[in-house]
């Protein structure tokens, strides 16, 4: 499209020399190729995505075919007797992520509002940098910290609830710490897009800081905030290493909040390298399920964003 435009303008001018025409044509040609290359890159991502889904489906098919509905209803994952139920892992994945979101969202929004509204100028930069550093810590470090520091603390403080210190809630807390920087960074950026004139008018009307945050800032950037939360949720759902360390790795469905459990990612990490045959196929089916869950979460977020009336979404 762009090429016909530029070529058309060139010939329309009429009095350009032959050499000039050539140069313009060549530039137009370059543009054509540039577009094609860009399109190729975009297409490659789509193809890659398609290929991953397809290969996951193909390799998980034997297990899904063999177990059918049982794969989603069986309450344990026992490789030795070839009973593969995805329920404990799905439960653990969703529960730890929900715990993480419940803890991380209020804290992250609080930090973001503090940074944009109330923070003294000299503190703003160092604080932001520190939070971004938190986002850069490799997940294995969180895992070690969870096992060496958080789990023993929980064990000492609440020995009746956390006899071993590890478990679904411990994993949820670790995940919360891991996603706070992501949600905070996005929230801070979208809150910054609120025009100062809106804030100032609200303050001018006599609003308190709480009222400005609650009734002016947050509603006007609702969509962007949801986007930040979803980004965090996406990370929490797929997090492997840190979770494996502290979740307890119990393969029986244990429908409690603080008990031992497992997540899809942790289960795959623990068993994939030693698996073959049906077990490998079942683990790949778990991967497919994780993929679909993440996909569904992203799609849901899109839906929310489209429906939100936020000006700065």
């Amino acid at each position: 499209m762009a090429t016909t435009n530029s070529a058309g303008t060139g010939s329309g001018l009429g009095h350009l020399s032959e050499a000039m025409h050539k140069r313009l044509r060549r530039k137009a040609q370059i543009d054509v190729w540039f577009e094609r290359v860009l399109f190729g890159f975009a297409l490659a991502v789509l193809l890659l995505l398609g290929a991953i889904i397809a290969s996951l489906m193909v390799s998980s098919w034997p297990a899904l075919q063999r177990y059918g509905v049982d794969f989603f209803t069986e309450n344990r994952w026992a490789a030795n007797v070839e009973v593969f139920g995805a329920l404990p892992a799905i439960y653990g994945t969703l529960l730890t992520s929900i715990i993480a979101i419940v803890i991380a969202v209020p804290i992250s929004f609080g930090i973001a509002i503090f940074l944009t509204e109330r923070c003294p100028g000299f503190l703003r930069q160092p604080l932001s940098t520190l939070i971004e550093l938190l986002a850069g810590i490799p997940s294995i470090i969180y895992g070690m910290w969870g096992m060496e520091v958080l789990a023993p603390l929980l064990r000492t403080w609440f020995p009746d609830v956390f006899p071993a210190g590890t478990g679904l809630t411990t994993a949820g807390i670790i995940l919360a710490v891991m996603i706070i920087p992501f949600i905070t960074a996005v929230s801070r950026d979208v809150i910054n897009t609120v025009p100062s004139v809106m804030r100032e008018s609200a303050y001018g009307l006599g609003c308190t800081t709480w009222e400005v945050a609650r009734q002016v800032i947050l509603p006007s950037v609702k969509g962007g905030l949801v986007g930040g939360v979803v980004l965090g949720l996406g990370r929490a759902l797929g997090e492997t290493m840190a979770v494996t360390f502290v979740i307890g790795n119990n393969l029986f469905l244990n429908p409690t909040l603080t008990g031992q459990g497992t997540s899809i990612a942790a289960l795959i990490a623990n068993q994939f390298s030693e698996s073959d045959g049906t077990q490998r196929s079942a683990l790949l089916a778990l991967g497919l399920i994780l993929f679909l869950i993440t996909f569904a979460v992203l799609a849901f977020a899109r839906y929310l964003l489209r429906n939100s009336t936020g000006r700065h979404a």
Binding site: V81, P152, P163, E274
Partner: protein, 346 residues
């Protein structure tokens, strides 16, 4: 000119590297349980012969996969393969070294030396049927000990492992309940307790959790100074885990009568036998493509049988008795190169 020099240098070093790999390293992969002793042997063997060992401790399941796929010269597994499995894949196996799996516990304020348990009670603990240390079943086995009121937290291996296999194999032998609900295997679903990674992870989880009980390979328990459970064996004697009781169990093993050398040494008879003893196995193809590589691997195993006993004992492993080693050497005549000749001839 300069390019030429570089090219020559690079290709030269590549050739050297490639030939060094081909001639001077035996490749193997598998169980983590015997890894400390294998690497110790390999160091000593390299000093003597100049031939190194490239052993990847990726777990027993992975070792079986790799030898079936022929990416390594030998595989290693703590869980033996059955005769049928071996024949299906054209493999043979033999025991290389033995060791004991022990139950360790940690209770804050417990001043006794150790606790006595029997297989049934241990199985009930791992099934979640016994949840407190002052349970009557435990008290009955320990009449002289004052048991604290503490919740029991069973600790188990989270990933597939040979230690899991030995422990669940033992519990399945002694408890029908355990056999029917959990069963034996390298990777099982435990109804109760917390999982930890590797022997070291289990040991540290036990050490730091009040009321924990867990199972580890003996060397790890010794390193972490954990209190060890004394177990009742199949003769009804309560035995202490030690080199002597592992050897007593190992001495029972009738390798001659075991088809394909499939032998699991748990719950062995004998007054002093430790009930959770096991051997670690080496797997090789009966028809090998690279006779030279196979021969070098066998030379290493031969050397380890003859010279490695002391090193194994220092690391709390039980070496194979000489008569078993001789029997294994004899069985090597079954390994043939591509031309049909026996690879091993000594």
């Amino acid at each position: 000119m300069l390019k030429h020099v570089f090219a020559t240098l690079i290709s030269g070093s590549l050739v050297i590297a490639a030939s060094a790999q081909a001639q001077d390293a035996i490749t193997g992969a598998g169980a983590t349980f015997p890894y400390p002793v294998y690497s110790q042997w390999a160091d000593a063997y390299q000093d003597e012969s100049g031939i190194g060992l490239n052993y990847q401790a990726i777990g027993s399941g992975g070792g079986i996969q790799q030898i079936v796929a022929k990416t390594v010269t030998f595989g290693a597994s703590d869980a033996p393969m059955t005769k049928e499995e071996l024949d299906k894949n054209g493999l043979m196996q033999w025991p290389m070294v033995m060791g004991g799996v022990v139950a360790a516990f940690h209770i804050d304020g417990f001043d006794g030396e150790s606790l006595n348990l029997d297989g049934d009670t241990l199985a009930d603990i791992y099934l979640g049927n016994i949840t407190n240390w002052n349970d009557d079943a435990i008290a009955e086995l320990n009449p002289d000990v004052e048991l604290p009121d503490a919740q029991i937290t069973p600790v188990y291996r989270a990933e597939g492992s040979g230690t899991n296999f030995l422990f669940t194999n033992y519990l399945s032998k002694v408890s029908e309940d355990f056999a029917s609900t959990v069963g034996e295997g390298k990777s099982v679903a435990w109804p109760a307790g917390v999982g930890a990674k590797a022997n070291a992870g289990v040991a540290s989880q036990i050490g730091s959790t009040n009321g924990a009980i867990g199972y580890v390979e003996y060397a790890y328990a010794a390193q972490n100074e954990l209190s060890l459970v004394h177990l009742e064996n199949s003769d009804g004697n309560v035995v202490e885990p030690s080199m002597e009781s592992f050897m007593a169990a190992a001495g029972n093993a009738e390798w001659q009568d075991a088809p394909g050398m499939y032998l699991v040494l748990t719950d062995q008879p004998g007054a002093d036998s430790w009930p959770i003893t096991g051997a670690s196995f080496i797997l090789m193809h009966k028809e090998v493509q690279d006779a030279e590589a196979a021969n070098q691997a066998l030379k290493f195993f031969d050397w380890a049988y003859s010279n490695g006993n002391e090193m194994a004992q220092e690391l709390d492993y039980v070496p194979m008795p000489d008569n078993v080693a001789d029997m294994v050497r004899d069985s090597w005549s079954d390994i043939q190169g591509p031309n049909g000749d026996a690879v091993w001839n000594q």
